[in-house]
Amino acid sequence: MSPPEHDLVRSHRLPWRVEGVTVVRRRFVAGVLILAALAIGGAVTAARPDTDTRLASFYRHGRVNQTVAGRTFQVRALGVRGAAKIKADRADHDTSGVWVIVKFTVTARLEPASLKFAALVDGKGRSYRATGRFNQFIVEGGYDLQPGVPVTAEVAFEVPKAAANRLAMRLSDQFDRRLDAIVEIRLPVSAAQVERWAADPTVAQLSPTEVTA
């Protein structure tokens, strides 16, 4: 077996022995390509949505007197009122802000469901949960809604007076609302209404939660 011809072997190697200018140029090009790949990778990573964005909830928007469907239930807000004081659980409850009371009808769609989250959101994105100062089983996961059986309830929230005229109510059937539907209903409340509610000495009472005929 004859030894391999030197020039043939050389042609398969990296061109260490070619002219210096070629080597420098190739290395420069390789360096640029590596940097470009890193930059593109970095840009892709930076442009990728963060975890909270990827797991964000899906909002179903609506207005009062409009039926809005969530994933497992549908809601129709019937109205909103307010007060400075509420009587519930055999006691009067005042607030440093104002009570906002929302009346709605909720119906499970295909299988039993229960509301586990209710909050009002103001214009700055601040979220106020339904009060826990007295029992509100309908939004605490304590009321099983049966499919096709509408239930009407009033739920109370306390919010700062300054935030009460730009509110939306959010309802969900999940404690963990990531990647799930949230019903959001805009509430028509004016600043003048809020002032009247806060000044009204009448103690409000929530209407009982009941199946709607």
Partner: protein, 204 residues
Amino acid sequence: MSYGGRDVWPRRIGLKILDAPVRGVVVGVLILVLALSGLFGGLDRVTPDRGGLPVAQVGAAQAGAPWTVTVIRSAIFDDLPPLRLEHEGDLWLQVLATVEVTDDESRNDMREIFTLDIAGLLDAEPKYMYLGRDSTLVDYLHPGMPERIGYFWELSGSAPVPTELHILVNGKTERVDSLTGSLAWLDPGPRSELRVPVNDERGK
């Protein structure tokens, strides 16, 4: 050393490094790392952290996150219906404070606000938290709506009755959780401290 063509200087340096004894290379690398670290302040003298917390005053708001806290007073009681002591003869240690949620949403972790530096507590967390407004148990507090809260810890009857209480006011930091990638309130721990005289309300 040549491979038949012109030597390229980075290759020459690389080959010299490869030819050098391992110990020399290691020592050289360490010296290089030290030098680079020194260039960026790694060798600067460090003032040790003495662990001191900002000292709060009774009645003064401690702005923090996710809450702002104002400690109003502390007292000790022997009987306080409808609160129920776990052991007869124990005492109630009360801290009265105003708490305002500075987060953007309602929170129900108010029981994590205080750590009491005192011996004889049955539990580090308060057994009861009552809203001053209507004496209901504290559930959620809402953003921008400060509330006066009475915190109650059960203190063993065999423990010395305190005349002064050392309170650590805890806080949290909102940051991306390195495990889940989600924004969360993490790193709970003391953010300030204060000493409050304890009023003796036993038998009153």
